[in-house]
Symmetry: C2
Subunit: 469 residues, 2 copies
């Protein structure tokens, strides 16, 4: 491909993306294809000769788009959002375009230093505690996902609890972790990856709001210590996946500090709400946490993948993850003058992810995100009133911010049928979860394109499809 | 940012990228900035108001480019390459533009099915053994990096060796892994992450070519078994990082099959050489391996991050990495009709990475990469002859493919000074390593822009700067 061909094709693709974003509402939210439908449209062997760009671009519409579940659709009410702003798309394109690997400071100093600065910008915008800010013992980093942030926190906590001995003995059976049934699956996956195992995860009792009960945590820690175990990490959620429950981080933090246990706080979606001062309560108690993560690629619009993670003590994280072969030694790192972010996460190689956060904060600022968050929270409050007024439905959990959990009073079969029927229309997409053993429809209002009228249409769809009592 | 502003800005950025790629040779390869230089040019707080795109674009040239070490520079002879083709840049842009999360088949079927198909296309082009192809018990997946592929292989091997018991007991001290001093650092990092620990990594003797000695492997396995240990994985390199040594995979595979030990083969850069039939020897013995990875983002041009990994038994990998909370259950997955790639790697969320491989193979085909590989291998052979003819230099390892390892006969100080002096010119970039306790300059010829005359200029630079004997 010549530079001229690239420019022509690139302009066409930019226009195609703009067209996709502007018309995404015309597609069914949930892809309507059946297993194997997309693969059947692709040759089973690679093309023998280069194809023109126009053919590939046409296949985006012909083959790819029908196979997409449209996360940018304004009626995407499933999972958590994965917003992608125009500004961040450009930042990501710039990153791809320069094609550098930011594994070490020396392999592209700008990749490291822009990351340090813009993650600190975000810390300021969220009003994070000083311990996570640049200049002290802590600091911030961009991980690919909250799963990787959770795993990194587990590894740092393991390192601290064992004084690094786990690098040598491989005997981790005494370490115990704490969460709840509502904590994201990445905590159990991370414990399994780290060799600690599912059986060493204690699921602490939750209250009626699905939040961890601190006294139950303290009691379980006492039991485990009496049993010769070593409590080493608590993962608290500031906004659980199923119902947006908020664990009482402040009270949990008191226990963790007293017991010298690493406290990781997972605010993957809801942490971003702290961009609005009136929602900053979501971070209450965070000054007692050892690590925290939230995803600019969820409710903020910084284009997957972009998880911002902060630690209060970067030494533990680096000690857990640093390996230094000869071919990665550099003078700047030996002098202690720079950060090598490869030591802050799982992979060695790293994209220049900070550019998309930099572009987003410079080109858009936070005002549009603040306005969006406020509109979504207001729409959720409106929805809560509608649910309360309809005798066929009940709230399954205390509503918070932008998530409303609903079940049909006739029971699980009715709720499950409603979810399946609504999703099959393609007009909206909801995720099912289980709360208190009951099937629940999650109505998450977080797509950047979602306005009040989309929420109203989604609610109308549910009302139309729901069986009578 | 309005759609119109996005299109205008996007066109300008596409043109900027094209300009960057076409003029990258004008920049010093190694960024000349000092620690803190880039951060000092950025505001310490986020901008209070949105800035025009023209300012951000100008800052790419003013702030970012001087802070880059230019991996796309034709005289980038450091590390391994990270090639970024125009076609793959477009594919990556398309992925960012549609903004979907391919964690499950249902969350965008095209993301899963295109990945399955194009990774199999690559398997065909590399002529991989049938056990890794679509249709049997194995299969392929795109990981973010070879580090993640190595870790995933370790976890799958651990799962098989313990029949899944490690999810419960957390006691891994009996498991033993095998590699050499030359194996990539990601094996030790992966063992530490997986809770197995550095002390349970056995470094097997190497021969004069820095390749693993199979008889030494067999002997160590016997010792460990007699000691009550459980040998569970061997990591063989088809092209080590320091010197491109090729472990004898076929003989190692015989031992692994006899002892029922998982064999992972790391061909991060050199595996791609198998795109050329005459270099397909790099994959000899691979039919005895349990897993294999190579990086299209290295010598091939599929834009970081894109590591292709294959397993012969996907059940072990999935068993190690699958966690299924209610909110991730889907009908298609329950029916066993689809792949959910979240179960094949560390993170839950996944970009639509397959698009960049699809674009690259369709728009460019493999002919340009084959031609590039052949030119690079020929240039390396030319370089070897020059080194042999100059009394100041010696080859530090048997040269293979596109990597030539050189030291100055006057000793480490002379070699180190030469590396530092050459890199400081900005005219070329080399990495230092240590082989046989000796400082070594690695001259890796792998950047897609590198032609014979760049290699000649790099060699001339070394000759000009090298002290006399």
């Amino acid at each position: 491909m010549t530079p001229e061909e690239f420019r022509t094709a690139g302009h066409a693709l930019i226009d195609w993306i703009s067209g996709y974003m502007e018309t995404v509402e015309q597609h069914p939210v949930l892809s309507q294809v059946k297993p194997g439908d997309i693969a059947a449209q692709l040759p089973s062997s690679p093309p023998a000769a280069p194809e023109p760009f126009s053919d590939v671009l046409a296949d985006l519409d012909r083959v790819i788009v029908p196979g997409l579940t449209h996360w940018q659709h304004p009626s995407f009410f499933a999972y958590f959002p994965a917003n992608s702003s125009y500004s961040a798309i450009l930042g990501d394109l710039a990153s791809t375009g320069v094609g550098v690997n930011g594994m070490l400071w020396a392999t592209s100093p700008a990749a490291t230093e822009v990351e340090t600065v813009v993650v600190d910008w975000l810390a300021q915008l969220l009003d994070l505690p000083a311990r996570f800010r640049v200049g002290g013992a802590g600091g911030g980093v961009i991980q690919g996902s909250a799963s990787e942030a959770t795993l990194s926190a587990i590894l740092a906590a393991r390192e601290r609890a064992t004084a690094g001995a786990t690098n040598h003995t491989g005997t981790l059976g005494n370490l115990v972790a704490y969460a709840t049934t509502q904590t994201h699956s990445s905590i159990e996956k991370g414990l399994r990856i780290a060799g600690i195992g599912s059986d060493n995860l204690r699921l602490i009792a939750i209250d009626d709001a699905f939040a961890m009960v601190p006294s139950a945590l303290a009691a379980q820690i006492a039991i485990d210590k009496a049993d010769g175990k070593v409590p080493f990490i608590v993962v608290a959620s500031t906004g659980t996946t199923s119902s947006l429950a908020f664990d009482p981080v402040d009270a949990i933090g008191d226990i963790c500090q007293r017991e010298r246990i690493w406290l990781h706080v997972d605010g993957a979606m809801s942490g971003i709400a702290a961009l609005c001062p009136e929602h900053r309560w979501v971070l209450d108690g965070l000054d007692k946490a050892d690590s925290f993560c939230t995803n600019p690629h969820k409710w903020m619009g910084v284009t997957f993948d972009c998880d911002a993670m902060w630690v209060a003590d970067r030494a533990a994280l680096i000690s857990a993850l640093s390996i230094l072969p000869e071919y990665l030694r550099t003078a700047a790192a030996e002098a202690g003058a720079v950060i090598d972010y490869r030591d802050w996460g799982i992979p060695l190689g790293r994209r220049f992810r900070a550019l998309k956060l930099w572009f987003n904060l410079r080109l858009d600022g936070v005002a549009p995100v603040q306005a969006m968050i406020r509109e979504h929270v207001a729409a959720a409050a409106w929805l809560v009133e509608q649910v309360r007024a309809d005798p066929r439905f009940e709230l399954s959990a205390p509503p918070a911010l932008n998530l409303v959990c609903i079940h049909h009073v006739a029971g699980d079969a009715a709720t499950d049928e409603l979810i399946n029927a609504a999703n099959a229309t393609g007009q909206a997409l909801f995720t099912r979860t289980v709360l208190n053993g009951r099937s629940v429809l999650r109505f998450c209002i977080g797509s950047q394109a979602t306005r009040q009228h989309h929420v109203e249409a989604g609610w109308q769809l549910l009302k139309d499809l729901a069986p009578a009592v």
